[in-house]
Amino acid sequence: MTSEERESNCPTIVSVGDHRRIKQPRRRELAMFTDRPWVGLRTFGDGVYWTVRRWCLQDHKALMYSVNQTVSLLGQVIISVRVAPRNPSSDVILPYSKANGSARVKMGRTEVIASVKAELGRPSSSAPGKGKVSIFVDCSPTAAPQFEGRGGEELSMELSAALRQCLLGGKSGAGGGINLSSLSIVDGKVCWDLYIDGLVVSMDGNVLDALGAAIKAALSNTGIPKVNIASATTPDEQPEVDVSDEEFLQFDTTAVPVIVTLTKVGRHYYIADATSEEESQMSSAVSVSVNQQGSICGLTKRGGAGLDPSVIVDMISVAKHVSEELMNKLDSEIAAAEAMEEDSS
């Protein structure tokens, strides 16, 4: 079946009620057929898919975000064809002058902004030779009205904790995406404090992956100023540090991992990069962070439902495969955006 035949088989959209909501899923699913590869999961035959789809579209109420039988059935079917993640496009790297590095990433309709700011600070007494990194995510009410005031606090805490786990590695520092020892200026006295802030502007599912990509892009854009250290008179005094205005140290982001979230929908299927419609059907999700070498840098499981251990192991291998593709796309996008920035400046 070619894509034209498929398009002619598609039922005409009934423009009753909220027709925008009906149209968008259809556009997305056509894109799915034409250019997304399958990553080795079971798929339904085309015939079965289309019969169910037609039935659900006639009953347009089924596409509302409420849990009823038709939606759960739709959830089961639509999943089998969507496995590859949406294209991340870091189309604008904001020249935000107060931040040392920033990036904006759009994945489908999910949009996030990440900014990196470096400030001088004291290292903690338990790790005098290392700098400090603090990651914080804020969910803005522009993404969803329930995030007004303290409503988004729970989600932002969960996202911050997941990002901290994925990017900072074990307690001894091994496996972390950011080398903390490179942030130290004077052992035990002065170090760089990196404040990585993420802002969720628009939510269409899979915010964690977008944030991971944005942070990676922002870090690659970050320039840490060069410092000149005046010699201290006594070991107890704070040495004088002179921060130069010319950006010097570019962050090495080859070790920064990329996060892939696999959402389990129904009983047998799991998908990568779920939209919020698909996420409303999720029973549980596993977010795996994989670095360039293919080793797992962190894993968080979200959602309360229990998962069989073999399913988790399967998800990890699928995540590794998907992350390779995502990392290549991300690296090429970052390089393109940086080249564009250099051309324009």
Binding site: G169, I296, C297, I312
Partner: protein, 257 residues
């Protein structure tokens, strides 16, 4: 102290604190090092579990794993707060608090919300929330003494308390964590080992159903190592599940007499 035994400083140093830190790390990078409390790499701490610690609560449990002591008490199902919306399934409210003398440095542990939400995530997959609609079950955990981390102890104790309270659950929840130090996988790490770990893996599972409700991995892991660590954890969880069951049976039989 175990860390300083057998190591002598080469030259006199006016600031002895820095010397301590340098001497501590080589302990764990030796090929065959002994754990500070003499356990085998794959041996968990002895677990002491008792239910019925708090009389006023619907259910409670006290757990002591090595030096870590935790009391969890369950109140409920009771009326949800008036401000909350109607819901046709029950709600679970978890709160973990630390006594001020819980950590070696007074008042050190303060990130309660993070641990509370992790406890909530681990327990909600096991509780049949539809058996108590419109009401809330409160899980209050009080950590009496803890050296570091040790979320698995809180989770296991909480599920024992829930069973004691008679809340309907699919299965008991057992949690175990594994630390990767150098090339070795060390199960049930204590705080000293945790500070030098290269990665940690914490599994919360329902032992009889063989389902994982929460899995948290930090640090760098290769896939075969993850498999090995998960197998270790699941094995330990099933054994911990048996211990929890025997504790419940004991308390039930003593209450009958």
């Amino acid at each position: 102290m175990a860390a300083k035994a057998g190591t002598t400083p080469a030259t006199y140093s006016p600031s002895p604190t820095t010397n301590n830190k340098k001497n501590r790390t080589p302990l764990f990078s030796d090929v065959d090092w002994v754990r500070p409390d003499g356990r085998d790499f794959h041996q968990c701490r002895p677990a002491f579990l008792r239910t019925g610690a708090v009389n006023a609560a619907s259910g409670s449990a006290y757990a002591e794993f090595g030096n870590t002591k935790v009391i969890v008490s369950i109140f409920g199902p009771r009326e949800s707060k008036k401000a909350m919306m109607y819901s046709d399934i029950g709600r679970l409210n978890c709160n973990v608090s630390y006594t001020t003398f819980a950590t070696p440095v007074r008042g050190q542990a303060s990130d309660n919300k993070d641990i509370s939400s992790q406890l909530h995530k681990s327990l909600e997959g096991a509780i049949m929330l539809n058996t108590f609609p419109k009401t809330t079950v409160d899980v209050f955990a009080l950590v009496i003494f803890i050296l570091a981390g040790d979320l698995p102890v809180i989770i296991s104790c909480a599920s024992l308390a829930l069973a004691d309270a008679g809340i309907m659950m699919y299965d008991l929840v057992a949690a175990v964590s594994v630390s990767c130090i150098g090339k070795n996988l060390v199960i049930d790490p204590i705080s000293e080992e945790e500070n030098h770990q290269d990665g940690s893996l914490m599994t919360t599972c329902l032992p009889s159903r063989n389902e994982v409700t929460q899995l948290t991995i930090t640090g760098e892991w290769s896939t075969p190592k993850i498999h090995e660590a998960m197998e270790l954890c699941l094995d330990a969880c099933s054994k911990l599940g048996k211990i929890m069951r025997s504790c419940l049976k004991e308390s039930a039989s003593t209450s009958q007499e």
